[in-house]
């Protein structure tokens, strides 16, 4: 038996009894980052595969939202900073060892790229769009001629962005539940899935919806596989990792995680999408909303549980 108590000192705001430094802001930021990664990835992918006309929502429409979504994510991240006046410090340093530094520089690339990508497609979606400045128009026209290499860069960077949202957490050795290399691929898969779900929600084209649904089922399948893998990895690791896994396997987060994330956020929408592909039901908006909600809940619960899982007391 062990009794471990802090008898003097500590009892500090947001540190004790469990870390609670990150509330809703960081999960929202990670979620929106992943969502944008998903949007841009598939847009660039199907663009490169020449499916712009078959899949107009994926390639052209949804990417128009990407910079706004990312902007909201960055604003929310800004809200989380405790020393807001020093936000510029992210861009006065390059710290190769710091995932967060990598993240801030990645976003420094992705955000302009997402703007550029939206600009390239804006006239396809809104034929009456007029650029306010001639130089801007010329710039966008020139960019359109480089659309393919830009798409390649987008694929690369959207994967980095999607992975980064997970690696940000997995790099914290101190929080055992985060400290698994699966976190990157898991958040990437979830990001891709939520990106597809948003497309599913916006798409009005039945054929396109079918393709999205099919791919999303694969993404969801990957996610479930990664989740199982994550628990296997944690359970096969050290005592603190086992304790961390137990938070979801009998511990306080169990019901919430398995019902809302795995059940309602992954299994049910996958099932509905499969049924829809087979033409049994036509409720594509419901699985889309479930996936979008499930993606957020996944991040929220992982960020929460990570702060709950620790080495010490």
């Amino acid at each position: 038996m062990q009794e471990l108590t802090i008898t003097s000192g500590r009892n500090m705001a947001h540190i004790d009894p469990n870390l609670s430094i990150w509330g809703w802001e960081i999960p929202v930021y990670l979620y929106l980052g992943g969502l944008v990664a998903g949007i841009l990835f598939f847009s660039a992918l199907y663009f490169l595969r020449g499916k712009s006309d078959e899949m107009p929502t994926v390639v052209r429409v949804t990417p128009l939202l990407a910079p706004f979504i990312l902007g909201i994510g960055l604003f929310v991240l800004f809200l989380d900073l405790e020393y807001k006046l020093h936000v510029f410090r992210f861009y006065t340093n390059i710290r190769l060892e710091s995932p967060m530094s990598w993240g801030s520089w990645t976003i420094g690339v992705v955000f302009p790229l997402s703007l550029l990508w939206a600009a390239i497609h804006v006239t396809d979606v809104f034929p009456n769009w007029r650029w306010p400045f001639q130089w801007l128009k010329r710039f966008v026209l020139m960019a359109q001629t480089y659309a393919r290499p830009i798409a390649w860069i987008l694929i690369l960077y959207s994967v980095i962005l999607g992975m980064y949202t997970g690696i940000l957490l997995s790099a914290f050795n101190a929080r055992p539940i985060w400290n698994t290399a699966i976190m990157g691929p898991l958040f990437l898969a979830s990001g891709l899935s939520t990106g597809l779900a948003l497309n599913l929600l916006l798409s009005k084209n039945k054929a396109e919806k079918h393709i999205i649904g099919r791919v999303d089922v694969m993404a969801i399948g990957t996610e479930i596989f990664l989740i199982i893998h994550m628990f296997m990895g944690l359970l096969a690791s050290t005592e603190i990792h086992i304790k961390a896994a137990e938070l979801f396997l009998g511990g306080p987060y169990t019901a919430f995680f398995w019902i809302f994330v795995v059940g309602l956020g992954l299994m049910l929408p996958a099932l509905l999408e499969l049924l829809e592909i087979r033409g049994k039901v036509g409720v594509s908006k419901i699985p889309a909303l479930l996936v979008l909600a499930g993606g957020f809940v996944l991040r929220y619960i992982i960020v929460e549980a990570g702060q709950f899982s620790q080495w010490g007391l």
Binding site: G9, M12, E97
Partner: protein, 178 residues
Amino acid sequence: MARYAMVIDTRRCVGCADCVVACKTENNVADGFCRDWIVQDVRGGYPDLQMEIRSERCNHCENAPCVRCCPTGASTIAVGGIVIVERDECTGCKACIASCPYDARFVHPEGFVDKCTFCIHRVKEGLNPACVSVCPTKCMFFGDLDDPDSEVSKLLKARPNHALFPEAGTKPKIYYLT
């Protein structure tokens, strides 16, 4: 360059928290926060019990995860391996807080991240950190691990000791004599 470490004799320590209070006044630590604290670690069941009392704080790790994860370089390693936070560089992103297995860091009400500095301002003048200098039981020792003649080196050679979560790979530099 020196490699500063702290050695704490848990046999002598009674957990009075003078170190906590001295740190608060010496460094003017913000209300509601502290840079060091006392842990009572009790093992066994009545009446066969053992207790280790520890004064804990930032471990000034040689492989400091807080320094590695800091996106701006605000968390950095200063003279003698002392891990400090340059408040001017800090954005308050809290990554370092999440990265610390010892939960030694906190957000100062003004927004930057704060923690034990080993009283670097005193150490630079050849003084012991405030906690060491006030301890009524004289259970705390501070010195240079690279100097084989320093009190800390000698104690670590002579007495069994342990650090906290060495398996976390952080190479902590607070040692507890048992």
